[in-house]
């Protein structure tokens, strides 16, 4: 894959970038441009997801949700953002002013820098680093530094509790997160995010999740630990609004506060994109070979769309989990990590090694097992849909019995 900056430069100025005296200035400009595009995407995604999450939560809780600002409330997140921008920026009396101000920068840069290595489609990635996955792990760990700084400098016991919980949580869960991705790295032989996707295929049985029972276990471990790293329920201990008031961000207000939830929702994309690219086949289009994609801009757009849809489905599941499950206790959280997730992922790494030797990827038994595994996956999805349908029909019946009117109404007439 040729560098997009080079292609664009040659297209614009009709001269090779090596011979141009402005190449350095061009690259710096291009870096800012890409950073701007990524920030635009991440910030908008965070905002829109906040609205979508609130609407989904409202449906789960059988209430209406935000529906006033804009048509069906779609501009609610803009209003919320403007409101928080206009709020007074309050620093508690005896807070450590420097650390208190610095903390949001760490949280912000830690999360948004992860977008650099995340792919969005065939060849569409800001920097196809050869250590992509490793880089994302390393850079998202910076978030916990910001959280500890914010919690410590607030001079509030509740904020400090949140900070220490966050430290314990992220230090614990970095390990199973990394361990559960090692099978993927072994199967690919590369840390680059694009290489990992290219090594998989378009159809479910070509995805790493269905390669063997071990990778399936690793997928579940990775998903759980990614939830924990993203501070999502059932692992939202650092915030834990019913225990710690609001956890590490108790004392924050205004724009400094806005950074924390924005980072949390941006992290939702990072988690889901990581799950998609490592285990769910990324942007691979079924029945289309890589060579065909590279030649056609239309197919590249399709690949972007596929990646977006897959990631959105994972985002939806994460949101649904958040509004269904209670929160675990702090000792149960570490217990789960050290007694179950870490040993199982270690076993799974060894298991995958053996599996790779016994059933090679392209061999007939390997393919058969992958087909069987994807059948199990499909059954699990069907069961999930069946349970939702069962509960939905049950509620519909009860509602109609109580109110005497149909519970369904067209979505364009949502209240």
């Amino acid at each position: 894959m040729k560098d997009y900056a080079d292609i664009l430069f040659e297209y614009l100025f009709k001269t090779s970038i090596e011979s141009s005296p402005f190449s350095l200035a061009w690259y710096i400009l291009f870096i800012f441009l890409v950073a701007g595009v990524l920030l635009f995407f991440a910030a908008n995604f965070a905002g829109i997801t906040s609205f979508i999450e609130r609407r989904i939560a409202a449906r789960i809780q059988s209430r209406v949700g935000p529906n006033v600002v804009g048509p069906q409330g779609v501009l609610q997140w803009v209003a919320d953002g403007i409101k928080l921008l206009l709020k007074e920026d309050l620093i508690p009396g005896r807070a450590d002013r420097f650390l208190f101000r610095a903390a949001p920068y760490f949280v912000f840069s830690g999360l948004f820098a992860a977008f650099v290595a995340l792919p969005f489609g065939y060849g569409i990635v800001a920097a196809d680093l050869n250590i992509g996955i490793y880089y994302i792990f390393a850079i998202t760990s910076l978030v916990v530094v910001g959280i500890i700084m914010g919690g410590w400098s607030s001079n509030s016991k509740w904020a400090m509790f949140g900070a220490f919980r966050s430290a314990a949580q992220i230090i614990s869960y970095e390990i199973p997160t990394a361990l559960s991705l090692i099978p993927v790295i072994m199967l690919t032989g590369s840390l680059s995010t694009q290489d990992i996707i290219i090594a998989q295929g378009g159809m479910p049985w070509d995805w790493y999740i269905f390669h063997s029972p071990f990778t399936l276990a690793c997928f579940i471990i990775f998903f759980i630990s990614a939830l924990a790293e993203g501070n999502r329920i059932p692992f939202d201990l650092p915030e834990a609004e019913s225990e710690l008031v609001s956890g590490y961000n108790t004392e924050y207000s205004g724009f400094r506060f806005l950074v924390f939830p924005m980072a949390e929702w941006a992290n939702l994309w990072v988690i889901s994109a990581m799950v998609t690219l490592t285990y769910l086949g990324g942007w691979q289009i079924p029945f289309v070979s890589l060579e065909t994609i590279s030649g056609s801009p239309f197919l590249i757009l399709i690949s972007v769309g596929i990646f977006f849809v897959k990631t959105s489905i994972v985002v939806f599941i994460v949101i649904q989990l958040r509004w269904t499950l209670p929160r675990v206790r702090v000792d149960q959280m570490t217990l789960l990590c050290w007694t179950y997730l870490v040993p199982i992922s270690l076993v799974a790494i060894v298991g995958t090694m053996v599996w790779m030797l016994v059933f090679p990827w392209d061999g007939t038994p390997g393919l058969l097992i992958r087909l069987l595994m994807s059948g199990i996956g499909a059954a699990a999805c069907l069961f999930y849909i069946k349970r939702i349908r069962f509960n939905y029909l049950n509620d519909k019946l009860l509602f109609e019995r109580l109110k005497g009117k149909p519970s369904w109404y067209p979505f364009w007439r949502l209240p």
Binding site: Q61, E243, W323, P326, D331, L398
Partner: protein
């Protein structure tokens, strides 16, 4: 840190002795899950609580003194405010005490109406209690679903007595308004809708693995402790003691109904843990539904109010009467002195006694467990302080 300047600490300081590396954590009175204005002083060195002292009195409004300056008939609205989540029981306990003292016969229909509204109110109160417990554990959805069901009960109450929270429904010698066919229909319709909803709620949260892990074997109250600390109601029954005022000292017409008293049996863990107290309430909701159904089917015809003098004067006497409120035994000890005002009224409530056990049970709990424990005790701040 100027601990000496803290007014709360001043009178509790002799009881608190923090070592080095321990800190005092002030939980409340403005904390999201202390269920009202309630303060806990927690001595801790991290997540584990070494000592937790409840500090009550933020919501003291002096009802007992107010009663001495208010005529008998006009004190009823105050009793709503003793426990705003279960206002009917305050009404009921008070009017029972006055009726006992003044020897007033209550018509049968009024007794049945009292039972119906009380049991509906018990359901509403337990909905808040169990939902808020789930909210304290971190699950927001169950609470909202229960609030929706409670809204139906509020509608029914509005149709019966015109108010949705503080009802002021009962009168000395009866009740203020009668119910008609359409309200009875509304109640039955609600029960038809609600009873299957309990199973759905159980599927959603009661049998959730994380929920059970958070509540089972947490904050165990032994049978002896439960009796010694004077726990009442679902908290006492959660410890496996089958004690219900409705059964052992039937008041009103409760002896005419067929219902069980659910009690804890270690449903998912030890006997007397938080889950038992929680699940006893869920089972009680079901029993209350059946009592309402029975009362509606047996509802006699007749007057709803006995003839009582407008200016009620009671000769020198004293009595104690108690009802099984949603938070356990609510007792009123009433002394009259021949005037139209009580000489003394002492109110005994379940939440106050429940607070006394917090210090003993909360040692070596986690901070998050204390929240679950308080939630499972189902305390309501105004009922603690009156």
């Amino acid at each position: 840190m100027e601990r000496s300047g803290n007014a709360d600490l001043k009178h509790l300081k002799p009881q608190i002795a923090p070592f080095r590396e321990e800190m005092i954590l002030n939980m409340g009175p403005q904390h999201p899950s202390t269920h009202g204005v309630l303060n806990f002083l927690i001595v801790t060195d991290g997540e584990v609580i070494h000592q937790a002292l409840p500090n009550v009195g933020y919501l003291h409004r002096g009802f007992e003194k107010l009663a001495e300056q208010t005529p008998y008939t006009t004190f009823i609205p105050y009793t709503d405010r003793i426990d705003y989540l279960a206002a009917m029981f305050g009404n009921h306990a008070y009017v029972l005490a006055v009726e006992k003292l003044a020897e007033i016969e209550v018509p049968g229909r009024a007794e049945f109406l009292r039972v119906i509204v009380c049991e509906l109110n018990r359901i509403a109160s337990h909905l808040i209690s169990t939902g808020a417990l789930a909210l304290d554990i971190g699950a927001t959805t169950p609470f909202v679903h229960w609030i929706r069901e409670r809204e139906c009960i509020n509608d029914i109450m509005e149709a019966i007595c015109g108010a949705r929270l503080t009802y002021n429904y009962m009168r000395i010698g009866g009740v203020s308004r009668d119910i008609n066919e359409s309200i009875a229909d509304q109640i039955l319709k609600f029960l038809d809708h609600f009873e299957p909803m309990i199973d759905e709620y159980n599927r959603l949260i009661s049998f959730n693995e994380i929920f059970i892990k958070r509540l089972a074997n947490v904050a165990v109250i032994s049978q002896i402790d439960a009796v010694n600390f004077g726990l009442v109601g679902p908290n006492l029954r959660g410890s496996g003691i089958e004690m219900d005022i409705r059964k052992i000292m039937p008041y009103s017409v409760y002896d005419r109904f067929d219902f069980d008293v659910p009690f804890g049996e270690g449903f998912k863990g030890t006997l007397g843990d938080s889950y038992d107290r929680y699940f006893v309430r869920i089972l009680e909701i079901k029993e209350s539904c059946s009592i309402v159904r029975q009362a509606l089917s047996k509802l006699p015809k007749g007057n709803i109010k006995a003839k009582v003098k407008r200016k009620l004067k009671i000769k020198e006497n004293e009595c104690y009467s108690s009802v099984e409120s949603a938070r356990g035994e609510m007792g009123m000890y009433l002394v009259s002195d021949g005037t139209d005002k009580p000489y003394r009224l002492k109110i005994k409530t379940g939440s106050f006694t429940a607070m006394s056990i917090v210090e003993k049970v909360s040692q070596r709990l986690m901070v998050a467990d204390l929240i679950a424990f308080i939630g499972s005790l189902d305390v309501v701040a105004p009922e603690i302080d009156r």
